[in-house]
Symmetry: C2
Subunit: 354 residues, 2 copies
């Protein structure tokens, strides 16, 4: 009898111990990022996500981050997370347009929303629902992953005074914006980042766009090109966190919430950090290279770009009802939210004079 009591008591003790251990179970997540190790701002967003998630989970989440030198597939993030080779990814949605054309719309669109407008669309408009619709069928969850703020139109060796000046112009500008430029006669090319400086210096290309002062400074383009054009093609470039849905579904609800909130804060913070770094770096560039000229494309050029952009979007909308739904949502949302921007920040800034 006593033996039986002892056994029962021991079992109860072990059960309680197991209960304690269960509550402390560690979940490991492996994240692959498109960026090289210690890449500024983008790479700080993943480190900040990891620190917040691990700290909030009191060690129940362990996250490892593999940079591109490790996994060797900077543009393979989508496939690797889909296949479960990695649990999470940090990249940009528009990189996957070859795999699913509707992933294009969740990074930034030419002549589209600014960052505050786009965050409002994601979180209080239809943005998150539409992104879910696109990624669901790939077994993936997608979340905003950090904003670069408005991207500059690029570094140019010569001034662009007319549409003719763009004809035949060789420019490194990838993605959808490249398609827009091709439509109006430019020659977009893609060149690996490590070769960009030399290509621009030796005039293998006439122009290139990268990001903005936050990341352009370290590339040194300001030393070899005199014109820095204001942006039109990526007014609110938002990176992306990707999660394998099966892995996600196996996590306890509190850890899901920790991951969701840590991603959200890391993303917003990256916007603030990009804004900060652009302010700091543009000040440095101006100080050392006071002759850099800030230019905005003439109206004729902007009108032609916008017309080409509208036509390309119309093609996509006609070919795919989901594309149409997203394009219509963004257009309808932007009509309202831009009217607010015009009477708030834009009116305020313009009223101050420059």
């Amino acid at each position: 009898m006593l033996k039986k009591i002892l056994a029962t008591t021991l079992a109860a003790g072990l059960l309680l111990a197991a209960g304690g251990a269960f509550a402390e179970k560690t979940y490991r997540l492996r994240l692959a990022e498109t960026w090289p190790p210690n890449f500024p701002i983008f790479g700080e967003a993943t480190k900040s996500f990891k620190a917040m998630a691990e700290g909030m989970s009191n060690g129940r989440l362990k996250i490892t981050i593999d940079s591109k030198n490790k996994h060797k597939a900077p543009l393979g993030i989508f496939d690797m997370v889909k296949a479960g080779q990695y649990d999470m990814g940090h990249s940009a949605s528009y990189y996957w347009k070859g795999k699913d054309p509707n992933t294009l719309f969740f990074t930034s669109m030419p002549f589209g929303m600014t960052a505050p407008e786009q965050y409002a669309w994601f979180y209080y408009g239809d943005g998150m629902d539409l992104m879910k619709k696109v990624y669901d069928k790939h077994g993936l969850l997608s979340f905003p992953g950090g904003n670069t703020s408005n991207q500059m139109g690029g570094w140019f060796q010569k001034e662009i005074n007319s549409l003719d000046d763009l004809k035949g112009l060789k420019m490194r500008i990838p993605g959808f914006a490249g398609e827009v430029l091709a439509k109006i006669g430019a020659k977009p090319t893609n060149i690996p980042p490590g070769e960009l400086y030399t290509a621009l210096e030796r005039r293998t290309i006439d122009a290139l766009e990268w990001v903005g002062p936050s990341l352009d400074l370290r590339m040194g383009f300001h030393k070899i090109a005199p014109y820095y054009y204001t942006g039109w093609h990526e007014p609110a470039t938002e990176l992306q966190f990707l999660i394998n849905k099966k892995k996600w579904d196996g996590l306890p609800a509190d850890l899901q919430e920790i991951i969701r909130v840590a991603m959200r804060t890391a993303a917003y913070d990256m916007y603030s950090q990009s804004y900060h770094a652009s302010g700091e770096n543009w000040d440095l560039i101006k100080k050392d290279y006071p002759n850099i000229k800030i230019k905005t494309f003439p109206k004729e050029v902007l009108d032609a770009m916008r017309k080409a952009n509208d036509e390309l979007l119309a093609d996509r909308a006609a070919a795919d009802p989901v594309a149409k739904e997203i394009i219509d949502s963004q257009a309808a949302y932007m009509r309202k939210v831009r009217a607010w921007t015009e009477i708030s920040d834009q009116a305020y800034l313009n009223s101050l004079g420059n």
Copy 2:
């Protein structure tokens, strides 16, 4: 002997059970907010903070929110949290300028930074350190608590064409902006929110400022005043979470991190929600009242306001070295970050034409 083993085993079991219970200890936080119950946007920020913090802590944090109908002291939040009567508060830093003049600088300053600029200053410039310096001596921690986005300059019964039109103008405009207007001859008054509509309708006052379309719509001012002026006085109104430092120091590190990140996300989210609601509501106002005229104060008026503002800031800087440190930090930061805004969002928006 068996009895002893049994006792030891039972003790071990209880210890393990206690260990489990310890890991599950519940921490209760009482938060007082300045707002009435179910106040839109501001009140949603506190509810969202509570939901995130409780969800991420898996029930270890229990947060109760008392609105002003409960604690009856909307402008007593600072004192109540300082005294430990409440653990947390949600309010606005500039409400405490009578208690400590340097709390003024952490909400929004006339002719100051926009929301993205100010978030960059808080989190990547000196903003958080300076705020800590001011609140430390009160035994309080202060964190950004949500942004309204750019506030409108207000609803006016008549058009302002010159500085003379402002002389003697009775306007509801509280705080530092009221001081600025008084300096150039207007008559700022403060009137309880519930009486504002009638006061403006009966011309007891000639003008008032509230927030922007996000919160102005429900007040109905657009039905009784034809001019809606663009903003100058609060370009980035940031609310505030306050925490009693002693209470904070008694929390485990993981719960501190959960609270910090939940506040940060709730604050950023409120900016997105304000932006969204302003877009939606401004669209509604325009539809129903198409004759509302958006106006910007003429240069003469803006110049006089700015001069008065600069003089008031110079007085504060001369009187208090900490005030000087904050004013200098904001001015130096804004010089750099605004140069970035000018070549990014502002140039982009202006290039599109309206």
